[in-house]
Amino acid sequence: MAEPVLDIRNLSVNYLTPRGTVKALRRINLQVPSAKVVGLVGESGCGKSTLISAVIRLMAENARVAAGEIRFTGKDMQQLSPRDLRAIRGRDMSMVFQDPMTALNPVFTIGRQMADIQYRDAVSGKEKLKRAADMLSLVGIPDAVSRLDNYPHHFSGGMRQRITIAMALLVQPKLLIADEPTTALDATLEVQIIRLLKDLQADFQCAILFISHHLNVIAELCDFVGVMYAGELVEKGSVRDIFHRPGHPYTRALLECDPSVIAEPTRFLPTIPGEIPSLIDLPEGCIFYDRCPGAAQVCKKIPPPEVSIAEHHTAACHCLEV
């Protein structure tokens, strides 16, 4: 693997709260190779969003990076000044947010907002608007030139998400971060947006870090997948490995819960019994111990090591050790 665009090493992030320190992310190792799509999957509250806000360095005020480093195109993001960070955001790295209804400023036209993000480029305002219009047509907004004068509330949710994708790609980033970009949309729109992202990624050759809790979307779009559980990256590997030869019991359970793989009609959808452990008062051993069907004695006391299953495929589980 060549040098990855994004290289997260041993990252831990804490939230300081009145009830104690929430250890939201622990020892995350994740690489995003250039021009590849890496998916992150996991249930709500597992730390996916914390991870990306740490990557783009737009964290909540009470969040602290406790350990580890984030290297973006070779640069350590922790060491950068706010000025250098701003130079990266919106040029080498851009982002598509979860909720398209609130992601655009309601009192500025689309054209103005798309021109403003090109503020670094020394070209005329007319040229910036032309670029914006071209990009809007590319993401499938009909009659793009005249729609530059429209405000966000003139567009539907799906259209707005296309606009935010257009904005994110307009700056031709090396890395696009997509934080559940289809969660707020209905199923048919979801498919359209995913296809669009896939096509554009092939054209623009940017890397994408794609967050979702929707397995089918991940399978459709991504080259590599990371599975997160309660603040840890429990398994990572190629899409094929994760979906066909899942190693970690959590990944297996997650795949079994996917409603689309259920063959027989049943009264109850499958679930993973038990609850996520408290992130303030962490268990000693494996984080998945309480809910794991194959938990052994060793799992209770000792945290599992990262076990290599195949090339680029690892999982953190004692049971995989030979």
Binding site: G90, S94, F97, A103, P106, V107, F108, D116, Y119
Partner: protein, 314 residues
């Protein structure tokens, strides 16, 4: 935008008409006989009756209201029976002074309050934010006539930097400006606090919105985010407040007007209510009502100009 303006002005006209009718009705419910006040205790019933007919008070109430509305539409606010001069003339003579005072007060309060509010929001929970908050609450709590009295004592009596009373010689702008400073300071000071607090609150809210996070994720410069992307939204409630605030001040600047012995609408209304001068009360209150409606219409229109959702909704 033009469509919005037309509709908003139409609405304003309706409000004014309703207000005039209500005003006319209310003033006739107030006990007291205008004819006895004007003619004095020794007036005979015949003299009173004559004056009644002259003022039109003998006609049915509805007829009085309709004829009054018609006259108002033609700019005729009736005659003042004390001075025998047209009410419109008396009111408009005072109006300039009041308008200048109110606009100057709100003007400097805005110029100081809005940046203070933005500053507080951007540097929230720092020492300087708390200092601004302390100052704001302080000046809101002190009534404007107290500020007026003490600034009068300090700057006019002790230091003798500024004139104490009156509005200055007509035509002499420097003199008028000097007379304006202390009253405008007294009225505006509390508003600095109001505006700073309100701008801070709405700025904090807007800065937490998703689109601001997105703007940051695109690396937009912080001054662009605060003073363009956030302020254009955060200023909207303040503009609404100023619309009603300016309207209310036109008739309630009366404390400062009395302390500084300035002519003005507030003082005119006060004096004419005390002397039960119906036509003058009507005229002055009517004009200040119209100005109130005008002021809110303007603030609504500014909001509509800034926010496309507002102008498409009405």
């Amino acid at each position: 935008m033009l469509f919005y303006l037309l509709k908003r002005i139409g609405l304003a006209v309706v409000i004014v008409v309703v207000a005039v009718v209500l005003l006319y009705s209310m003033i006739h419910i107030v006990p007291g006989d205008p004819a006895s006040v004007i003619l004095g205790p020794r007036a005979t019933p015949e003299m009173k009756q004559e004056l009644y007919e002259l003022m039109g008070l003998d006609r049915p109430f509805v007829v009085q209201v309709v004829s009054f509305l018609g006259k108002v539409a033609r700019g005729d606010l009736g005659m003042d029976f004390f001075s025998q001069r047209p009410v419109a003339q008396i009111v408009f003579k005072q109006l300039d002074e009041t308008l200048v005072l109110v606009l100057a007060s709100i003007g400097w309060a805005m110029l100081l309050g809005i940046p203070l509010g933005c500053y507080s929001a951007v540097f929230r929970n720092t020492f300087s934010d708390k200092l601004v908050g302390f100052f704001s609450i302080g000046v809101i709590a002190v009534p404007s006539f107290v500020v007026a009295l003490y600034s009068l004592l300090l700057f006019a009596v002790t230091l003798k930097w500024l004139p104490a009373i009156g509005a200055g010689e007509p035509g002499q702008y420097l003199d008028q400006l000097q007379h304006l400073i202390l009253p405008a300071f007294a009225i505006g000071l509390g508003w600095v606090g109001y505006i700073a607090r309100l701008v801070r609150a709405s700025m904090l809210e807007v800065l937490n919105e998703n689109h601001i996070r997105r703007a940051r994720a695109f690396g937009l410069p912080e001054h662009m985010i605060v003073f363009q992307y956030a302020l254009k939204l955060a200023i909207l409630p303040t503009i609404t407040l100023l619309g009603t605030g300016i309207g209310r001040l036109i008739s309630s600047a009366v404390f400062a007007e009395i302390v500084f012995a300035r002519p003005g609408i507030g003082k005119l209304i006060f004096d004419s209510v005390v002397s039960r001068n119906y036509p003058l009360v009507m005229g002055a209150v009517l004009v200040s009502t119209v100005l109130f409606v005008l002021s809110t219409t303007i603030s609504d229109s500014v909001n509509a100009m800034l926010d496309p959702r507002v102008r498409e909704r009405l």
